[in-house]
Amino acid sequence: MDALIIETVVKAIVVLLVISALAGFGTYLERKVLAFMQRRLGPMHVGPFGLLQILADGIKLFTKEDIVPQHANRLIFMVAPAITAATAFIALAAIPLFPEFTIFGYTIRPIIADLNVGILFVLGAMASGLYGPLLAGMAQANKWGIIGSARTAILFLSYEVVTGLSILAPIMIVGSLSLIDFNNAQAGGVSDWMVWKQPVAFVLFLIAGFAETNRTPFDLLEHEAEVISGYATEYSGMRWGMFFIGEYANMITVAFLASLVFFGGFNPIGFIPGFLAIILKVSFFFFLMLWVRASWPHVRPDQLMWLCWKVLMPIAILNILITGIVLL
């Protein structure tokens, strides 16, 4: 019992540190990828290839003055960024990150909490993440913040439905909610991947995942040209940084979910071992998010609602219906 607790705590700390570091590295990658796609060079001057830019940004964020606006609701204003970051990491707790491996004769399963309802837990924890932007926007005495938080509530509530419905069809095929079962169900190589059986569900999940992580075609919450920074208008320093870390952790979570549910998880592909396979898949989905950001403009709020309720949701329900009939 004690060994289990110690092991869980160690795993949680490792995941927390690694994902936070990756979030910092993710900003660098995002700037570089976007720059190359737009025929620029991106960060160049700090360190080799601009790599120390991450460190410079980190120092700047940590040392920046922490301003709380005069009429803001102090307590909620200060707690809200922590909610975003915390829920993003809680969602990661139920994800099997790598295959089992052995260190010093001690077998480690790289999953913090092996729940038998893992996939719903991840979706639920990510859905609770909307309290961060929602409360942040309401607590600051700023009209952009209010608009931002209203948009947050609408966007997250609507796209949660699509995420849940799109992932229901693969759940029906596998017959389990455990992400490890999903991984094991696709153990037979590339031809066994869920994406060949459920291409529609995959596309729906990807679109809804972009919306839930607040990525570009749907990043209406902090759309510069319309609402300044939305919920993050009044934030500075590390509180703003926590929103950022939460967003990048959510991107990594969605990338893991997509590769575990639809792309064969951490099963080895041919000569590529399992842990490398999943790193490649997750990096691909991360890159896809940046690629889409460079390629597509934003949507309007009314287009966002139209897309969710009149296009994606009917398709998702039809997909579930057809899957059910085929399975019967």
Partner: protein, 168 residues
């Protein structure tokens, strides 16, 4: 270990409930509501009922509280706009009279409850068992509830449409 977690959850549940009733600012009441919902989910998880735990997180935390915060946001509730309600002796007496039967019933139920519980079955609270029970033993109430929800949904759409029509 379990009792420590239980007391932490109970602390959050009760303090959230007290916050709902006593805070003057409606946003704090909503956050109290959120605390109650999350602590309830934790209680379900402590009872090994994974289905109710997830339903509570997905529906209670993810939708119900969000909608109530959304309402606070859209009607701009402020402390000075709310009616003044002083706690007078008459109010306390009246509330006590209303609450007394419910409190008595609760006390009766708690006193009657058997406190020697059998150990939980192997598949207690999983989605499979919940689904089987819902679609065999409780299928009629389940369907009636879904028709009720459908009626409420249609009613809400009709009501909101009518107002738009009048305005135009």
């Amino acid at each position: 270990m379990e009792s420590i977690i239980f007391f932490i959850l109970a602390f959050f549940l009760l303090s959230g409930a007290i916050m709902i009733v006593f805070s003057k600012e409606s946003l704090y009441s909503a956050i109290g509501f959120l605390m109650v919902m999350i602590a309830m989910a934790g209680m379900f998880a402590l009872l090994h009922h994974s289905f109710l735990f997830l339903a509570q997180i997905l529906v209670g935390v993810g939708a119900v509280v969000v909608l109530s915060i959304m309402i606070i946001l859209s009607i701009n509730l402020k402390e000075e706009n709310q009616p003044k309600q002083n706690i007078t002796r008459k109010n306390i007496l009246f509330t006590t009279l209303i609450i007394a039967p419910i409190a008595g019933l609760l006390l009766y139920a708690i006193a009657k409850a058997p406190f020697a519980f059998a150990p939980i079955a192997q598949h207690f609270g999983t989605i499979e068992t919940m689904g089987k029970v819902l679609f065999t033993h409780w299928v009629l109430p389940f369907e009636i509830v879904s028709i009720l929800l459908l009626g409420a949904m249609v009613g809400a759409i009709v009501l909101s449409r009518r107002r738009l029509h009048v305005e135009s």
